[in-house]
Symmetry: C2
């Protein structure tokens, strides 16, 4: 079966990509797990459960005890409260160290369920069954986390899944907004590591309506190959893995200032990438053809401007408090050219100026 | 300086043992940390803070930002609630990925602070400054955790400290009960790996009054050497590390059934060790001289009988639900002879019978 191999230092595992995969997970688990599985807890959310939970549970053919728990759909579920609730469910179900957690859903379910797996009895195995396009990114690489009221993903760990089962069929129930959100991370992988792929995307994807499933499979393989590469080089984010943060420093600030859920992650990343491209042009005195990319983004329905509801000074402060930053400084991933990322410290002044330029102009002021 | 080297697979670090060490931590940190430290958060508890917090903070000579947080003394602080509170404190203090957490206290502080360190921004560095005898065990080996209402240490991870600073002077403010609790783990190390050490302990320690500090230093080094050995062989508890659980299967059940805090951990482990010795004699048909050990335990003030307030059937159920067990079975560490531990599955019946024999007899029934 089509797959991408992730060779993290702590563990190697496969990302299987195929249509209809959700109904084969139970059978495939046998060959994937190196040792006995005593029971399974499937964690999913309230939007995904009615669509795909039965298929996943059914795929185990009652060969071992399966428990399920459904969290509320949405970012708010990545909380201490829900974390504790899921732990309670795991204990009540009698999960032991040989049990496996199945994360069925988007990045929210994956991050939460992964963090539960990484800390339940000091760590048990889990598999990812991503159901959003964005989750092609979040389900791979082992970063798991919940949010703290004072910051997103502030509490978490590194815990690699045993396997990722990507059922591309499941993507077709996603609203367009979620395609757009996930596609930003696909583009990002092109920008930081694969110019050819980026060009191909620009040719092939000009709308999210009726994308053929073969194209989606191919796109995911290419995009995941970039991530696989980077994770293999630097599992624990002490070096090149930071490049995956391209577009994210501003995106995190925008998400946090807007209130989570107002803009999707990918929408914010799109704005952040345009910003990072402009900043790169300015700092390295190169021409990256930003205009053309911005047009493409607009064609795909992205807003590339920063909402005028937001305050530049507050965005700058948030960027200084980013998890990747040492207190006070702003470190960003920029491009010296397409495919050539670099992590550098940028003076807050420079950032502030360029942010002002990217603000949405109020027309009926 | 006297130290024991811990060579875990994921990291090697030293346990420094000396009197007055708490006032030197700040200075020693410089030479221990491989990279820049941006700030420090000292986590301690309400009994330890008035005694030693100033010394530790003072040892940094205001060379970098130091924050402190004091949790309530006692097992109840290993909770989700306190975990979240300490995370809040860490975020409010602006800790970043270069910050270091200092765990100043007994096993409760060490386990909680270590779990915070392991999950704050997906893991930052921490050092252990144990102040109880029991913490000679808990501060080494990287097992960190909080409790869930449904089970002790159910939520946690493996996260090794950068160093352990053991100030033996600080032990002298401990109540006798806490010496007794910690000493059970010292004895355990003798039982599972070092008969000579066990004999030496039996000679040298017959009361906890006025133990000379040199003897305590020596005892800690020997005891830690056993733990170091085992952790080096098996950091993640997939094999021999389970031997450290000698006496603990029953102890956990007793603690949980009594309500935490009623018996200390070590008092419960003492009962558990006598039980495991008797069971070993029975199963392997050997003579381990249990009577003599039981006498020594009594001389030291341990109660070796199971309280008749407890129900045997409930203890058995709890032993079946132990974190180390696969659901339903009872696996215990026994001794084929002193110094020769083995992990085996014991039929619940056999356990039940022997538990009845070890129950306290009600005299004024
Ligand atoms: N761990 C990482 O490396 C990493 C990387 C990027 C993002 N993330 C995290 O991922 C999260 C965002 O992920 P997301 O965008 O997938 O959000 P999400 O999980 O909230 O999913 C988006 C929405 O789509 C719904 N949904 C999911 N699958 C569906 C389907 N097949 N059909 C219809 N509806 C479906 C969900 O219920 C939700 O309402 C954020 O919390 C972010 O921090 C993590
Ligand atoms: N991580 C591990 O490998 C491991 C191993 C064994 C035990 N543990 C954990 O350790 C905990 C028990 O540790 P503990 O026995 O140190 O308990 P503790 O931390 O509660 O300390 C016992 C009591 O002594 C007080 N105290 C601490 N130092 C003092 C001092 N120098 N002078 C006066 N009073 C002092 C404390 O405030 C507390 O009231 C349990 O939660 C147990 O699960 C962990």
């Amino acid at each position: 079966m089509n797959h991408v191999l992730i060779e993290a230092k702590s563990k190697a595992y496969k990302v299987f990509i195929n249509t209809g995969l959700r109904s084969k997970i139970g059978e495939m688990m046998d060959s994937i797990m190196e040792s006995h599985v005593s029971s399974v807890l499937v964690i999913t959310d309230s939007s995904v459960a009615p669509l795909y939970l039965d298929d996943v549970v059914g795929s185990f053919h009652e060969k071992l005890p399966i428990y399920t728990t459904v969290i509320k759909s949405g970012e708010a579920s990545k909380s201490f409260e829900v974390y504790e609730q899921v732990m309670t469910k795991a204990l009540e179900s009698g999960l032991d160290r040989k049990s496996v957690i199945v994360a069925l859903g988007g990045g929210v379910v994956g991050d939460l369920a992964g963090f539960v797996a990484s800390t339940y009895m000091r760590g048990i195995r889990f598999v990812q069954v991503p159901t959003t396009l964005l989750a092609h990114d979040s389900s791979v690489g082992g970063k798991v986390a919940i949010n703290h009221p004072l910051g997103k993903n502030m509490v978490g760990s590194f815990h690699q899944p045993e396997a990722v089962f990507y059922d591309t069929e499941a993507l077709y129930s996603l609203p367009e907004k979620e395609w757009r959100s996930g596609f930003a991370e696909v583009i990002k992988h092109g920008f930081i590591r694969n110019h050819t792929f980026l060009n191909w995307l620009q040719e092939e994807v000009t709308s999210f309506e009726e994308l053929p499933v073969e194209l989606v499979n191919q796109m995911l393989e290419k995009s995941l190959a970039v991530k696989a590469n980077i994770v293999a080089e630097d599992e624990l984010e002490s070096g090149v893995r930071a490049y995956l943060n391209f577009g994210h420093t501003l995106a995190h600030a925008i998400e946090s200032e807007s209130g989570y859920g107002v803009v999707t992650h990918g929408e914010a990343v799109a704005i952040g990438m345009i910003f990072a491209l402009k900043l790169s042009e300015q700092i390295f005195e190169v021409d990256l053809d930003v205009k053309r990319y911005e047009e493409w983004f607009k064609q795909l329905g992205y807003n590339t401007k920063i909402s005028n509801q937001l305050q530049v000074s507050r965005l700058v402060t948030k960027m200084q408090n980013d998890k990747k930053a040492e207190a006070g400084t702003i470190r960003m991933v920029l491009l010296r050219k397409i495919e050539e990322a670099i992590l550098i410290e940028v003076p807050p002044n420079t950032i502030e100026q360029l942010l002002v330029e990217q603000m949405e102009v109020e027309i009926n002021g």
